[in-house]
Subunit: 429 residues, 2 copies
């Protein structure tokens, strides 16, 4: 029997989940793994007398965790600077660290993972909560060459889009309900603008493509511009709209690189990923040997996240230190302008002769071929209609130029109402 | 850099997949893990001069694998007795073993896993091909108390049921196509009667519920009795029919035990599991901390299976020997008669007054309550109609008695045609 002494930083929902699991399942964990988990220290700025610390010493000073009676430090405070300093200090003191902090890993993971290469830093809980996607990429599928990773990795966005589609709620109502249910923060910017998803995608892209984490190279769009019409038209075309993070290998030879982007996308309705609803997360991985694998589950929540934190803890307790990431090769990141995608366009136009032709001509002038087009019936009493177009695959920069031209031309003849909506299509091929 | 020397038993599709992955991705694996995979020996009864052995010595004698230049033995020959002997010999000689052989683990896993407890035996590839479900249960989710494991774990059955539903093919045609596509054996009994799924479920049940593998305690039904009508009626009721393996904890106190059963089941159409189609496999795990997680991907195929085999190999190379399963507790297996399920019944009856009432009365006499009932219109020119019933949850033995009574009563008045079809409903709750 091997006893492992834990020092926990933080007393929020994840830390409480960790304590609760150890209290409830400690015996089971010991029987399965031969590891006895013992919490010796807890440090948190906030006192929470209602939480059972399982006999651990409590302190409000994080540096008290770097002690002789702590074998592994659990960083569960969130935020960036303080968390980063704690992880750094722990690694310097030869204490392995487990963290659930996606922002710290996305922003400082490269230095932290190499700062003391003999001391492991694990972060399964940082991406997609309870889903063991990091272990899948780093362990189970380690012998694969990865081609693509596509994930629904923000539960707030997925909840809002699901509610808009299934309950016919406008964006604002869905967001409001998400906030009431605790699925969105009072200030939801971080989630609905895609920043949280970008942190997670940064980590997935770096791991799958053996390259450093580079948050700055992730293209980011949120879901605030998605309308009920877009969801309806997408359904007619056989798609559902999901907010996804995509990392894929593109290009050949010297042009080869990683695309990393976070944005709403049309996903074929019959794909499993399109049927991952509400706050659930899911990641689809495509690789040369294993083919297409999908991992889904709760992407957040104290207990679900704690499940992954403790999975890491037991793995550390059972195994030797991991090989550092020093040997990773480096693949360049591809600029969003070079990305090639099919697109969904919704163009609100004045219902008059020649407008449809003008739209079609503009596409043609930019060498964009149209796969499908629907001209909707005008709404009773309105002079405007929606033209919906699905393009064949085209380079992002060309598509952007075509949309700009379209805006200008339709503006000149006062033929447009509202802005053109463009959403990328991901067929997962 | 750590070199690991592999001895491979077998030269079938999985062994060829292993050789091919090492040839293609060997450098990548080395950079990621610090482990260099070197195949030193290959043994197979069949000579395959077309396969590149990557410089390994070839022998037709399996015992040549137990040599000083082999660190890990890969058992990829299939079958039971010969494979079991090889694994035993290797473990006795202190060689860790990786196998893709579900039959050997289901039947002899208990003794093999404890025969030489310091030498690891790994078998990720034995269940669900490329899907890392063993690692999920044993590592990532190790701190969870498992409540239920439900999986589509036989690709042949899933292909046939999908084709019956989506292509309107009768069972025989779908089976024929599966055979032509290489998804079913010339003698398909093993797959379509559920034996293969039972092997896999035995392993999942033992691991999730900390209890020995007991193939004999798995209740097994295949898919040969499923008709096009059943699939159609199920769709009307909001379900799809899938062939699943189910292991769940049921009962309380001394009655507590594991249900382990393999059979066709109605799954709610909007559940992710219901949308896993064709030859894909998927496993849904419900546990106390992580909640409901789902893992899907290719369940068979040389490359996909080899991906899991090599994941195990690298894990062995990186970590110390695993703790043996000696410390596992033992949970009893529950007899199928004690299982509680909702049921779908299709009862072909003569279209005459009183028959429906007789069916309803029989259910009522056995205290079975009806959740939904549909009396179908008779087919033009036929004197028979289908009564379709969905029951509330009821004990298996009671349901069986009710169906027997029904058969007898309807038989007496010559009111039935064809047998009553009963399919269990799994809502995944």
């Amino acid at each position: 029997m091997k006893q492992v002494r834990l020092g926990i930083a933080g007393l929020g929902t994840v830390a409480q989940g960790v304590l609760s699991i150890i209290a409830t399942n400690g015996d089971k964990i010991r029987a399965r793994s031969g590891v006895e988990l013992k919490v010796t220290r807890v440090a948190s700025r906030t006192l929470r007398p209602e939480v059972d610390l399982l006999g651990a010493d409590f302190s409000q000073d994080l540096s008290d965790l770097i002690a002789d009676d702590v074998d592994i430090v659990l960083e569960l405070i969130g935020g960036e600077e303080v968390a980063k300093n704690l992880i750094e200090t722990a690694l310097d003191a030869d204490k392995p660290v487990v963290t659930a902090n996606k922002a710290v890993i996305a922003s400082f993971g490269n230095e932290l993972l190499t700062s003391n290469a003999n001391v492991p830093l694990k972060f399964e809980a940082a991406v997609a909560g309870a889903i063991p996607i990091i272990q899948a990429i780093q362990d189970s599928l380690i012998c694969n060459d990865f081609q693509q990773v596509v994930g629904i990795i923000n539960g707030t966005c997925n909840y809002i889009l699901t509610a808009m589609e299934e309950l016919d709620q406008p964006f604002a109502t869905a967001l409001n309900n998400a906030q009431e249910l605790g699925y969105a923060e009072a200030d939801p910017t971080f989630d609905i603008e895609g920043v949280d998803a970008a942190h997670k995608l940064t980590i997935l892209a770096g791991l799958a493509f053996d390259t450093p984490f580079e948050l700055d190279h992730v293209y980011v769009e949120g879901i605030t511009k998605i309308t009920a019409q877009d969801i309806e038209y997408a359904a007619e075309l056989g798609y559902r709209i999901k907010h996804v993070g995509i990392a894929k290998l593109a290009g050949d030879g010297v042009d080869k690189g990683v695309e990393a982007r976070v944005h709403p996308a049309l996903i074929p309705s019959n794909a499993l990923l399109a049927n991952v609803n509400d706050v659930a997360n899911a990641v689809v991985v495509r690789s040369d040997a294993a083919g297409q694998t999908l991992f889904s589950g709760p992407g957040a929540g104290g207990m679900a996240t704690a499940s992954s934190v403790l999975g890491d803890v037991v793995a550390l307790a059972r195994s030797e230190a991991r090989v550092s990431s020093d040997s990773r090769t480096k693949t360049r990141y591809i600029d969003i302008g070079e990305v090639v995608c099919s697109n969904y366009l919704r163009i609100p136009v004045r219902d008059e002769p020649g407008v449809f032709a003008q739209v079609a001509n503009t596409m043609s002038e930019h060498d964009i071929s149209i796969e499908a087009a629907i001209q909707k019936e005008p709404i009773e009493g309105s002079a405007f209609v929606d033209i919906v177009i699905v393009t064949h695959a085209i380079t992002e920069s060309v598509m952007e130029r075509a949309v700009a031209t379209l805006r200008e031309k339709l503006g000149e003849r006062e033929a447009s109402q509202g802005d053109i909506s463009r959403i990328r299509i991901e067929t997962l091929d």
